[in-house]
Symmetry: C2
Subunit: 225 residues, 2 copies
DNA sequence: TCTTTTTTGATAGTATTACTATTATATTTG
DNA sequence: CAAATATAATAGTAATACTATCAAAAAAGA
């Protein structure tokens, strides 16, 4: 039933790197080691010097792949949203009913992430934790407008657009599809982070993926009038 | 009709500062100048050295008030949520109908912020912009658990709790009041930031405060079954 | 296989950041 | 007016976020 395909690669905006990290052994070690180390010590404490030690290379070598740690985070975020988009396509193709498609799509963007054996160099569980806690930092800063011009957020916009258009299929008169989608996506990220660190800001319910249930319910109620 | 009161002061968790900035001229200049400068150059580029120059003081003097720029941001965020909580009380007292109270409360936490003449040392419009783009950084880092123990998020939790309890008054069987509240609050912040920088992630509608309308509608539909 | 190109490692250096420490000078308060 | 407190001036440190240079190793091309 489930098919796996190890011949696929996600296309990442080349403006995010100086040299394609997927093109060499060191490049792949930077990605893999970078995910491990950022997850472990957090983006603020993370430096290329520490990463060099972690992967047994040198600072200068890493700088040949990425201009800065900010750009590395952008690369990882682009990869993540390309991956989500790919899974959205898988989850929704050949499903006739728009409402079913919408529910499957919301499942994909809100559920707890699992390992994907199609991409061996990336630990998706760790990457997801990084996305929850670090990825908003790529747009919450003064470079946002120029980074936007460089196309660093198009992958995310594509995901938002894909979901918005399914919403409009279900209810063509709904006025705020993009707001609803970003509310769900960002919301799901927050709830999972809160559940770990600030539990009084969310509602944890035993034996239930409350996050996914809550957001599915929210969408159904708000678009079906 | 509208009453103003210049004798009020918001109580801020003293663990966030070394010396109370409201207690001296320099302290107030640090708050006022800090808000101006963070708004202008962003939190990443902001340093106490630059702030010292901005307010014509010295780096070492500022360090006597705040341990780090991180603590200053925590102080500003605490102040902001204390102020929101105070406005929530004003907006909801003496309103009988729980549904009305809820709508007024949502108005307070989602609307575009205006100057409050009760607090002359703080530019609330600038502070609000800082909250939108910088305040999530206070919990999206590895210090979150110890900062939580220090009580740096209680002010925010109080606001969430206040809104959650109104929701439960309207619908006592609603399962996810905290999720709904944080979804709204964080969502409204995101939408306003997106409207400025990433408009394709939101829906901007002329002559309408789409953010407030959207979230009021969302709450009504999701809690009234 | 030999040569050329590319990739990586080793080392060094710089401006800035995020602080701490010390001492002198104002300013406030009792 | 003295004593206490607040602020300014200056100096110093370890770490960060890079850039530059050059040699060694590996890969690719002929």
């Amino acid at each position: 039933m489930k098919q796996s395909n190890s011949n696929i690669r996600l296309t990442i905006n080349p403006e995010s790197f100086l040299k394609d990290p997927e093109s060499s052994v060191l490049g792949n070690k930077i990605i893999q080691g970078g995910i491990e180390l950022i997850d472990e010590i957090g983006f603020e404490a993370f430096t290329f010097k520490k990463l060099a030690k972690h992967i047994e290379s040198t600072e200068a070598s890493i700088y040949r792949y990425f201009e800065s740690k900010h750009k590395l985070l952008i690369y990882l975020t682009l990869w993540y949203w390309a991956w989500v988009d790919y899974r959205l396509v898988l989850a929704t193709t050949n499903i006739e009913c728009p409402k079913d498609r919408l529910m499957r799509a919301i499942q994909v963007v809100t559920e707890a992430v699992q390992q994907d054996s199609n991409f061996l160099q990336v630990d998706e569980v760790k990457l997801h934790r990084i996305i929850l806690s670090e990825s908003s930092k790529i747009y919450l800063n003064k470079k946002v407008d120029s980074d936007n011009s460089s196309g660093f957020f198009t992958q995310y916009k594509d995901v938002v657009e894909r979901l918005s258009s399914i919403i409009l299929e279900v209810n063509p008169t709904f006025k705020y599809p993009h707001m609803l989608v970003t509310t769900i996506i960002e919301g799901a990220h927050h709830q999972r982070y809160f559940a770990e660190h600030l539990p009084r800001l969310t509602d944890i319910i035993k034996n239930e993926d409350a996050v996914t249930t809550f957001y599915k319910d929210l969408v159904i109620k708000s678009i079906c009038d």
